[in-house]
Subunit: 202 residues, 2 copies
Amino acid sequence: MSVAAATSKGAATRETILDHAYAIACSAGLEGLSIGALAHAVGMSKSGVFAHFGSREDLQLAVLEDAAQRFVAHVFHPALRQPRGLARLRTIIEQWFDWVRHEDDGGCLFLAAVSEYDDRPGPQRDQLLQQDRQWRQALAHAVSLAIDAGELRADTDVEQLVFEIYALPLLVHHDAGLYGFDVAQARGLRAYERLIHTSAPH
Amino acid sequence: MSVAAATSKGAATRETILDHAYAIACSAGLEGLSIGALAHAVGMSKSGVFAHFGSREDLQLAVLEDAAQRFVAHVFHPALRQPRGLARLRTIIEQWFDWVRHEDDGGCLFLAAVSEYDDRPGPQRDQLLQQDRQWRQALAHAVSLAIDAGELRADTDVEQLVFEIYALPLLVHHDAGLYGFDVAQARGLRAYERLIHTSAPH
């Protein structure tokens, strides 16, 4: 086997392990990940899994990174196909609500991870915090573009608006589990529209 | 021992068990409650615990009920000492934010329970849903009193405003874990004030 083929096979195996790890973490949390159970799920030996992820912590960080990539692909990439400004921001919100709907169990991973690690200093918490900051920066940028486009007032407090937007998918996620996604989504969209309306130019 | 004394002793023991169970559920979730570990923590036999709670499910339901009483005592009772209207509503919000601050680890129990049971039909989910409905009704009532007092517009969509208020402590809880309570609380209060401002009479 050529070096390139071996590398490519290694990358594919890593991806397979990661897919299984992601699925386990979605239901059991990142702390519910064990190399033993994962090896069994993938049909490999524990040492085979360890060859790709040096430790359980490495694996947890890789799953978090993988989850972030899935989130960006689901929520942000479709928005980039919309024109800058409110059209793009609205697509972000719609896709974010869609991400937290319970049919797609990926929605829970970040919230579960925050409650697992927010009071436990360490690399997992550092990475979560960094990912959360990056996401807020991306939202802040999207809001700024809407201000530049004249669709939101120039004196809009960008970070505060990002905070108020961020609250909505959290509650849509919460309510979707209790009252069903459609009701929660409809209320979330109305709340978003009201938020935007109060920041619109006079 | 008289029947009254025995009953009172039984009630005190039940309360002790419940206190320990509440503490365990706060860190490990209601699904993390085991009668064995609980009996060990209280210094009783498993059958002693079973004498007070017929099953693990009974215990979980009792802990949920206990958590609801703690929540009402912390969030709602102080508000009832305020005059009806925005003064009372604001106290509810401030106390609710305080409830989700991470120094008091009780804040996590309901959110953890929602994620444990929202996709698992059964008595725990039914009770969570009933408790959530009752809380929204109490919030709706508090909002209605502010409308009656002329402090919020008569055409306020009460349920929608309750939804938008509810989103804030969720995010304060989330952000307190990542960025610290004080920052999260300050943003939460500003968001609340903006919400109320947009519903104020012209």
